[in-house]
């Protein structure tokens, strides 16, 4: 099913969505609550992962007195709609979901959030979803996908929930609109194939890649900061932390980064991944080998955030290629 909405009705659509649930739209740095204006030229720096694995997920609340029973907390059940999500970011959530299926926090947040995706019309030089084997027009992970073309919005509901997000003003699409949609989708993927390195990686022996000599050279520039992991829409590691102020305490889940020294540090001081190289290697091995072996696809959606924001100039492709060529 495909619907058409005039571009000028966009504000009406947003107003309609705002009535249904808390509405978030893309800003420059992160998704922000809708306040009457919207731009979607580029992806926000922080992906919608922030809504599902938030920077602060309270799990328990307690009084710091012996014998006190903690109170179990769960995310607020309020419905949310995130508007203008890119296909890559939405696909990332389906990857995280493979691991987090049984996690109560993630599941509840996933259930309560609707994602409205915006189709990318032109390829950008920074990102490469297709190289990771993702079809951005499949709408995977989204509830509704829309495409902006010549003063027209073409709306394609993906899920049952997505159908309820179509505004009343939207009309059923004519055959020529459908053809247009299909053509744009087809053109986008023309000459764009999944990276051959990825296919090669599937067959490579894990320990050969792990012990390869290129890691030393490629990891040299890395500062082991957490930019790539925190901006990555697929990185899902977390840390559990007890916050106490006075008598009140809260056990929270916060995002963690495998680039940090503390990530693997035992209480005894022993650290299995003490060297910066080991931590660097672990991140890419997880994304492009461990996850690939377990689930058949890499833990990367090609959004390009890590490449553009890395202060040390590390590039994902160099590493994938090196891994594929060992």
């Amino acid at each position: 099913m495909l619907y058409v909405l005039g571009r000028e009705k966009l504000d009406n659509w947003l107003a309609f969505l705002e009535k249904k649930a808390r509405l978030f739209v893309p800003g420059k740095e992160k998704f922000e609550p809708y306040q009457g204006n919207i731009t979607f030229e580029s992806k926000p720096l922080l992906s919608p992962k922030e809504f599902f694995l938030p920077p602060r997920e309270p799990m328990l609340s307690f009084e710091v007195t012996p014998g006190a029973f903690p109170e179990k907390l769960s995310p607020s059940p309020d419905e949310r709609i995130i508007f203008g999500v890119r296909a890559c970011d939405a696909y990332a959530l389906t990857l995280i979901k493979k691991v987090y299926q049984e996690d109560v926090f993630f599941s509840l947040r996933y259930k309560n959030t609707s994602l409205i995706g915006k189709a990318c019309l032109a390829e950008s030089t920074d990102c490469f979803c297709w190289a990771m084997g993702i079809d951005p027009f499949s709408g995977s992970g989204l509830d509704l996908l829309f495409l902006e073309k010549d003063e027209k919005l073409l709306l394609k509901p993906i899920t049952e929930k997505g159908k309820t997000l179509v505004p009343v003003e939207a009309k059923e699409a004519l055959p020529e609109d459908k053809a247009l949609f299909n053509e744009i989708a087809k053109n986008f993927l023309k000459n764009k194939n999944p990276s051959p390195s990825l296919l090669r990686l599937k067959e490579k022996d894990l320990m050969t890649i792990y012990n390869a000599s290129f890691w030393e050279k490629l990891s040299f520039a890395c500062l082991n900061c957490g930019i790539c992991t925190f901006l990555c829409p697929t990185c899902y590691c977390f840390d559990v932390h007890d916050e106490v102020v006075g008598e009140k305490g809260l056990r929270i889940r916060v995002p963690d980064s495998c680039m940090f020294l503390l990530y693997t540090q035992h209480a005894s001081g022993h650290n299995p991944r003490r060297s910066p190289l080991a931590r660097f290697r672990n991140r890419f091995m997880h994304k492009f080998k461990y996850f690939l072996d377990e689930y058949g696809e890499p833990l990367c959606v090609g959004c390009g955030r890590c490449n553009t924001n890395c202060p040390a100039g590390i590039n994902l492709w160099e590493i994938i290629q090196a891994m594929g060529e060992v």
Partner: protein, 150 residues
């Protein structure tokens, strides 16, 4: 209800703590707003300790040591003076109510000076009101994505 400020005071063991003791022994009246932490020297106090006190809900932090030249460790307070100067400037720069953090010299014989300091500091804090800007608030629903104002 009137606001009763809470002050965490880091007092040097050799001068200021003795000064506070003297204030008590000589029955100088001063407000009960102060909670004393005894430290070996004023230079032992690191900014993390000061911020930790504020974060945990103190309305003011007082650091007191020996007068320059009188340090038990000869020069500890002279080093501390430089550091506190920098810290004070940093707080001013970031607009974080620099009045809440005060440094002073109190010798072992200055019981009444200590009482006066506590009194004046308490008045300053009463005017300033409770510490709301640099106090950590623990929230059940923590959609930290939008920060505290959310």
């Amino acid at each position: 209800m009137t606001f009763e400020p809470k002050i965490i005071a880091f007092l040097c063991n050799w001068c200021s703590y003795a000064g506070a003791d003297l204030a008590g022994v000589s029955r100088r009246a001063y407000p009960p707003s102060i909670r004393i932490v005894r430290v070996p020297c004023s230079s032992r106090v690191s900014p993390a300790m000061i911020f930790d006190a504020l974060k945990s809900g103190a309305d003011g932090v007082l650091v007191a040591g020996c007068h320059p030249g009188d340090c038990h460790y000869l020069t500890g307070n002279m080093f501390a003076r430089r550091r506190f100067y920098m810290l004070k400037k940093l707080l001013e720069f970031t607009g974080l109510e620099p009045e809440r953090v005060q440094f002073s010299w109190v010798s072992a014989s200055e019981g009444d000076v200590f009482a006066a300091i506590v009194k004046e500091f308490t008045i300053t804090l009463e005017k300033l009101g409770p510490n709301l800007n640099f106090r950590k608030i623990i929230k059940g629903e923590g959609f930290g994505f939008l920060c505290r104002k959310d």
